[in-house]
């Protein structure tokens, strides 16, 4: 169906346009051409993303089935490469320098893991046509994929990029849930996970612990880790119903809000456009995600179903976590806002994921 592809690309481009406007607003007062030009870079990535969207939407997703394991290996290879050759920025080694641009393999790995898990759980048993996941035992149905997920997750968290790592884990949980793995496996995993919290706590870095503590009470460190949350809330709240107007948000413009063009772009937007703007934006996100879920429900192919649900959940969770973090409802973990935050890799990978979604709906009519 052409219809869903049109909806997806139209909504995605609208969100991108809002994002570019907000990036422009948050950076145009900064000194230096590099800052003032980053919205142009975002447009380039966007254009590239749109091209790949159309490429992928015409590229039979079933071929991904075959390419799953090479893709998985390639993603892990890239993550290792980050450790070897990665660029270090702001204390984290997350980027690979490719020709003229920097690429974040963790974004790529997120998508690959969705494809990987979709394939893993859509393996048909030889006995019947249904999904076998529900009948898989603990080892095959849960532990093995979990271990295979932990390889990239561990590599991502070590970068360190807790946000993306946790994101992949959440996507894993979502796919496992949808695929029909027995509740008790999921339940016991969650139980063990919670029981291990105090031990995992030790492995977190100082600033990550701080962020979690600050989430519980931002006022314990108003100038340090709590600063961002406080300023973000001030930015969003001071926008009120109608907002301060484009280019007039003092929090973003005068740089009280850190990361105003990346992780906290939602706050920048909310300050300038107010509750009305936010309602529109949330509606657009809801539209694109529910479109993804609907595609998953429409298709009959098990792999496609899981792929569509997985991608939708990946996108949906990113949106929810990022905005919740902006509102102070979730701890500050580095999760970019879908299609809005400045960052080429994220935009690029998101468009590819949307392209896959569009293709799934297109292939449906073929069957």
């Amino acid at each position: 169906m052409k219809n869903s592809r049109l909806i997806i690309i139209a909504v995605a481009l609208l969100i991108c346009a809002i994002g570019v406007m907000s990036i422009y607003s948050s950076t145009y007062q900064k000194e230096g051409r590099i800052w003032q030009d980053i919205y142009k870079r975002q447009i380039i990535w966007m254009a590239l993303g749109v091209i790949f969207f159309f490429l992928l939407s015409n590229f039979n997703y079933r071929k991904l089935w075959d390419a799953t394991y090479p893709l998985y290996v390639f993603a892990i290879f890239l993550l290792f490469l980050v450790f070897m050759l990665g660029l270090t920025r702001m204390g984290a080694q997350r980027w690979l320098k490719l020709f003229w641009f920097n690429f974040q393999p963790s974004e790529f790995a997120k998508l690959v893991m969705v494809i990987f898990l979709a394939r893993y759980y859509s393996t048909k048993s030889s006995f019947d046509v249904g999904l076998s996941a529900a009948r898989l035992n603990l080892m095959k149905g849960f532990v093995l994929p979990l271990l295979l997920t932990f390889i990239p997750v561990g590599l991502i968290i070590e970068q360190p990029d807790l946000g993306s790592g946790v994101m992949v884990l959440l996507v894993f949980m979502a796919v496992v849930f949808i695929s029909g793995v027995k509740f008790r496996y999921i339940g016991s995993f969650l139980g063990i996970g919670i029981a291990c919290m105090p031990i995992l706590w030790h492995y977190l870095r100082g600033y990550q612990k701080e962020r979690l503590m600050v989430f519980l009470n931002p006022n314990i460190d108003p100038l340090g880790a709590g600063y961002t949350v406080i300023q973000s809330k001030i930015a969003i709240g001071s926008g009120g119903i109608f907002g301060k107007g484009w280019l007039s948000g003092t929090q973003g413009q005068l740089r009280f809000l850190p990361e105003a063009h990346t992780d906290f772009i939602f706050a920048t937007f909310a300050e300038e456009w107010g509750l009305l703007g936010c309602a529109v934006l949330l509606f657009l996100y809801y539209l694109i995600i529910s479109e993804g879920i609907r595609i998953g429900m429409r298709t009959n192919d098990a792999f496609a179903k899981l792929l569509a649900f997985g991608i939708s959940m990946m996108l949906g969770l990113q949106v929810l976590v990022n905005i919740a973090m902006n509102l102070g409802l979730a701890p500050v973990v580095g999760v970019p806002l879908l299609l809005m935050s400045y960052g080429g890799s994220s935009v690029f990978v998101t468009f590819i994921a949307l392209g896959i979604l569009a293709n799934i709906d297109k292939q449906r009519s073929v069957f």
Partner: protein
């Protein structure tokens, strides 16, 4: 089924986000908007000028000098060296010196550094013009209290200082804040509310590091109101130079309305010491045993001694205890009870005129005994003793008039005739301030009026007393007043009069001397009188603390009156 759970999960997520948004943007909007404004709006206070203090002819007693400070904001990354060398050229100072001041003053990129303080107006203008080249410089006017006459009338004026806890607790309701500069003592304190400027403010928008972005608004400061006093600058100067090196006070009051023309208290101090914040000089003022901060004209109690005799005379004449033909023989001493009370001289036969003129103690012992302490007390109070004159200056004290009841209740002792005798010559427990004595003398100068002493004439050119405060009249017989006036004149004109030295004054003066014995040191000397005698225009009171005698006070009075007439001020 599980898909449905996912949809519910996502939808719930979006609902939570929406309610979070409503919470911040609608419910908490007001508070967070305020936070946002506080983040980026800074108020830079703008000082105004404190009101000037002028004399009765609007000559400046205290005003303000504008000093300019030059500040440099290092933030914008322009070459500091280039700016400094340009500034050095204008100021005519050494570049290296400016550079070191800059380095020492550097705190943060957005904090302005005072490069040079107290630069001249010319330099300030030249630097203002430089602003197009160097936008980082800031020339800030900074008004400072200026005392062109130094110590002149210092206790009347008062000095300035940072508000203390006690004053702040009283004045917080009137908009005073910590660190405010307020008056201490004198006009500066009493009329602080008029004199103080209303702070203005420049509101600017700053970024997250406090760097200036743009000006949002400006409210100019309001200068304080000027206060004109009734003081006469020329007369004040004369009185103060006559008092130089002595302790005591001089008051000259306008007999027509009670306006204070001169109020000098010696020793005095230089209020500019408090502006310069010179700690050692400030503490030397506070530790000076002669208490230069004390306004001796209104804030110190003294025994009035013989100047009190005019009140006793008035009481005796008014109650017909004596008449014009009553006379007593002064043999140098008299016995009251079993004690001998001495006169300061042997005067022989004395009537009321002679007794006032020559200040015969014997005459007043006997008159006083005729009157009794109650009548003397009542007349003393009638003449305004033991209560404040309510002059518009702070820290006035009221003196004290003893009575039999007080003696009985407070001191648990009886009143004896000896006490009455002492009371009659203004000794003992009786205490007055020089201003009260001035007012008492005014009664005789004005034929029975109790004047309202005041020192404020106008605020910002508008008279303070729209309806002039009417003096109250003491019911005294014209003959009584006339008799005492004659006596007071005789003290000057008679060769035997105690203020005989004033006979040569360029104007006919009448008055009464007083020599108050004090437990320690030399006697206090008083002279309280008025001039010209025929149509009194001025009332003068000179009080010398441990000055020896009333004669000495009369000498000072002569000096002052002669100088006033010589300089033709009246």
């Amino acid at each position: 089924m599980r898909v449905r759970a996912v949809i519910i999960f996502l939808t719930t997520g979006f609902i939570i986000l929406s309610s979070g948004l409503v919470n911040l943007q609608v419910i908490q909007h007001k508070k967070l908007k305020e936070f946002s404004d506080r983040n980026c709006i800074r108020l830079i206070p703008q000082q105004g000028c404190r009101g000037k203090i002028l004399d009765r002819n609007n000559k400046i007693i205290v005003d303000n000098s504008i000093s300019y400070d030059l500040l440099l904001i290092p933030q914008r990354g322009l070459s500091v060296e280039a700016s400094l060398s340009k500034i050095a050229k204008i100021l005519g100072t050494d570049y290296a010196k400016l550079k070191s001041t800059y380095k020492q003053g550097y705190i943060a990129p957005f904090v302005p550094i005072t490069i040079a303080a107290n630069i001249t107006t010319h330099q300030a203008i030249a630097l203002e013009e430089l602003k197009s080249d160097i936008p980082d410089i800031l020339v800030q006017p900074h008004p400072l209290r200026r005392y062109p006459y130094g110590t002149l009338a210092s206790q009347v004026i008062g000095h300035l200082g940072e508000i203390d806890h006690w004053r702040l607790s009283k004045l917080a309701d009137y908009g005073y804040q910590t660190k405010d500069v307020v008056g201490f003592g004198g006009i500066e304190e009493k009329y602080d509310y008029y004199l103080r400027y209303k702070e203005g403010a420049l509101s600017v928008e700053v970024d997250h590091r406090g760097r200036f972005i743009r000006t949002i608004g400006f409210k100019p400061p309001q200068d304080g109101k000027d206060i004109s006093l009734t003081l006469d600058l020329g007369m004040q100067k004369i009185a103060e130079s006559a008092m130089a090196g002595r302790r005591g006070s001089v008051i000259i009051m306008d007999a027509s309305d009670g306006g204070i023309l001169v109020m000098a208290s010696s020793p005095n101090y230089n209020p500019s010491v408090f502006i310069e914040k010179d700690r050692s000089r400030i503490s030397s003022i506070f530790n000076n045993p002669n208490a230069p901060l004390l306004n001796r004209a209104i804030s110190a109690n003294y025994p009035p001694a013989s100047v009190f005799k005019s009140i006793v005379s008035a009481a005796a004449l008014e109650t017909n205890k004596i008449n014009l033909s009553t006379s007593y023989l002064c043999t140098g001493s008299t016995k009251i009870g079993n004690r001998s009370f001495a006169c300061w001289d042997i005067h022989g036969k004395q009537d009321i005129f002679d007794a006032i003129a020559q200040s015969c103690d014997i005459f007043f012992y006997k008159t006083g005994l005729l009157l009794g302490p109650d009548i003397i007390h009542d007349y003393a109070v009638k003449f305004g003793l033991s209560r404040l004159t309510n002059i518009d200056l702070p820290y006035e004290v009221g003196g004290f008039v003893p009575s039999r009841t007080w003696r009985k209740i407070v001191k648990l002792r009886n009143w004896f005739d000896g006490d009455t005798a002492n009371f009659s010559i203004g000794q003992g427990e009786l205490m007055v301030t020089p201003l009260q004595i001035t007012r008492v003398t005014g009664v005789f100068a004005t034929n029975g009026l109790i004047l309202y002493p005041h020192i404020i004439k106008a605020v910002n050119g508008k008279p303070v007393y729209v309806v002039p405060k009417k003096p109250s009249r003491i019911s005294l017989k014209a003959s009584t007043l006339n008799t005492i006036r004659q006596g007071l004149r005789k003290a000057v004109s008679d060769s035997k009069g105690t203020a005989g030295n004033l006979a040569s004054a360029p104007v006919a003066v009448a008055g009464k001397t007083g020599t108050a014995q004090v437990p320690k040191g030399m006697s206090h000397g008083w002279f309280a009188g008025f001039f010209p005698f025929d149509k009194p225009k001025y009332i003068i009171c000179v009080m010398l603390e441990n000055g020896g005698s009333g004669h000495a006070a009369a000498m000072v009075t002569d000096e002052i009156i002669s100088a006033i007439y010589k300089e033709n001020i009246l």
